[in-house]
Amino acid sequence: MPVFVDPGDSILKGDVVGVIEVMKMFMNIEAPADGVFVRYLASHGESVAMGSPLAEIDTRYP
């Protein structure tokens, strides 16, 4: 499964970094800020709880 972004990629606020499925509905996950993508915190197909972090973005060097 191709990932949306790789570690080290520069991303802008609003860039799509993933997709989440709930009850057959799909929603894009958008970056909340500009920064450098560090890593995903959930793997493909994993169930995640509401409020759990999905990815890490380093916002120090936008």
């Binding site: 709930v22 009850m23 057959k24 509905m25 929603m27 169930s47």
Partner: protein
């Protein structure tokens, strides 16, 4: 020997089928995934059997496991409900080949109607009016030529699939090429068949559908119409019967067309022919659903006919219990779907545990629900929790009862669309039945802006 029916579904529709089995004296057998072990449909069925893990692909959508469950429980028939495997022609065929009765039309008809281009050809052959459109389009040059002939705005639509996937609205020739490519990519990936065709986009139209019933002896009847124009992202939200603005002569012409189509197909079981109807009363066939539909209940309320029981009886070789002359519409009925979704956040699904569940009651109220207090709303399946239906001597009475019922409804623990749908049916345009297929999307947009 009592008839044994495997109910290959979950939630409210599984319960609906289980209730019909109980009324007929048939034995119902529920299937459940690991996530659904404690569900209401399992509790209410006569027997139950586990079919796999929580994800639908490993349980409710796995035809091997459903067939194995039917074998193990010595079922005589399989009722697929809606969604999941209900419109999977290969599965329907296998059910029959493996010696069970299929509660639905023959696999060949499911296959024809599941292919939108083939369905259009069948309608054309039966003399049923179609939305002006093309057959499958090969290449963007051909699309441009066809678009020129057809006129804009138009829709690029997928031959396979459903649920609005692959549909692109195109305002003019400049957008057509990319819409054509996008749609082919999307449906090719989703359904393995990239074929698309073009259809004129009709504006200010209502979505009207005709409920059909047919038996093995070739008797085909209609149970009149429903208006399902209130849709969001092509998902119906509120439905009513009869269609409030349909003129009597248009009604009889559409019903007659739907019966003619079903007869030409050799249709058996319950089915629905869907049409778009414009302000002048012109009507155009869009597609046929070869299964029971979510909104069948409003038709049951106005006709007094138990459509699911008829489906089951027909599957066991019985003739229809009534002829066309026996079918009468009485009063009006409205259905509001209650979903576990957050209207304030993109209608995102809201799984969780239901802590409180108070369903409405009183005169003219019917609730088909899949949940109760303590039920877990799973993230794996669709978000519909319950259907609140009301019936009255006329539309005003049915509407007053719908408002009353939604006021009484309390579902806590998950976010629901109760307040959102209540605000819809309280709008003046709904009271005056002044809406079409674009009204709900605009209402949602205005809501965001305000």
């Amino acid at each position: 020997m009592t008839q044994r029916v495997l109910v290959a579904n979950r939630g409210e529709i599984a319960i609906r089928v289980i209730r019909a089995c109980r009324d007929l004296g048939y034995t119902s057998i529920a299937v459940y995934s690991d996530a659904d072990e404690g569900s209401e449909h399992v509790r209410l069925a006569d027997e139950s059997i586990r079919i796999g893990e929580a994800p639908a692909s490993q349980s409710y959508l796995d035809s091997d496991r459903i067939i194995a469950a039917a074998v193990e429980t010595h079922a005589d028939a399989v009722h697929p409900g809606y969604g999941f495997l209900s419109e999977n022609a290969d599965f329907a065929e296998r059910v029959v080949t493996d010696g069970f009765r299929w509660v639905g039309p023959p696999a060949s008809i499911i296959r024809t109607m599941g292919d939108k281009a083939a369905a259009r050809r069948a309608a054309l052959g039966a003399g049923v009016p179609l939305v002006p459109g093309t057959d499958v389009i090969e290449g963007s040059a051909a699309a441009l030529a066809a678009g020129e002939a057809l006129g804009y705005p138009l829709l690029v639509k997928a031959v396979a699939g459903g649920g609005g996937k692959g549909i692109r609205l195109v305002a003019g020739p400049a957008e057509l090429e990319s819409a054509y490519d996008d749609a082919r990519r999307e449906v090719g990936a989703a359904f393995g068949n990239p074929d698309v065709y073009l259809e004129r986009a009709l504006l200010n139209v209502r979505h009207i559908e005709i409920q059909l019933l047919a038996d093995d002896d070739g008797h085909v009847i209609h149970l009149f119409d429903r208006d399902c124009s209130l849709q969001r992202r092509r998902q119906k939200v509120v439905e009513e019967a009869p269609a409030p603005t349909l003129a009597a002569d248009t009604r009889s012409a559409i019903c007659e067309s739907a019966v003619r189509l079903a007869r030409s197909l050799g249709y058996v079981s319950a089915g629905t022919a869907e049409f778009l109807v414009d302000e002048e009363g012109g009507f155009y066939f869009i597609e046929m659903n070869t299964r029971i539909q979510v909104e069948h209940g409003v038709t049951e309320l106005v006709t007094g006919i138990d459509i699911v029981a008829e489906q089951l009886r027909i599957a066991f070789g019985n003739k229809l219990s009534m002829c066309q002359e026996d079918v009468r519409m009485s009063g009006a009925a409205i259905e509001v779907r209650i979903n576990a979704e957050n209207p304030d956040f993109h209608f995102m699904g809201s799984p969780g545990t239901i802590t409180q569940c108070v369903l409405p009651g009183g005169p003219g109220v019917r609730v088909d629900s899949g949940v109760t207090a303590g039920s877990i709303v799973q993230p794996y399946y669709d978000s519909m929790l319950a259907k609140v239906m009301t019936h009255g001597a006329d539309r005003d009475v049915a509407l007053a009862r719908a408002k009353r019922a939604l006021n009484e409804l309390r579902i806590e623990g998950v976010i629901t669309t109760t307040a959102f749908t209540r605000s819809l049916i309280e709008q003046d345009w709904f009271g005056a039945a002044r809406y079409d297929t674009s009204t709900l999307e605009s209402a949602v947009l205005n809501r965001k802006d305000s």
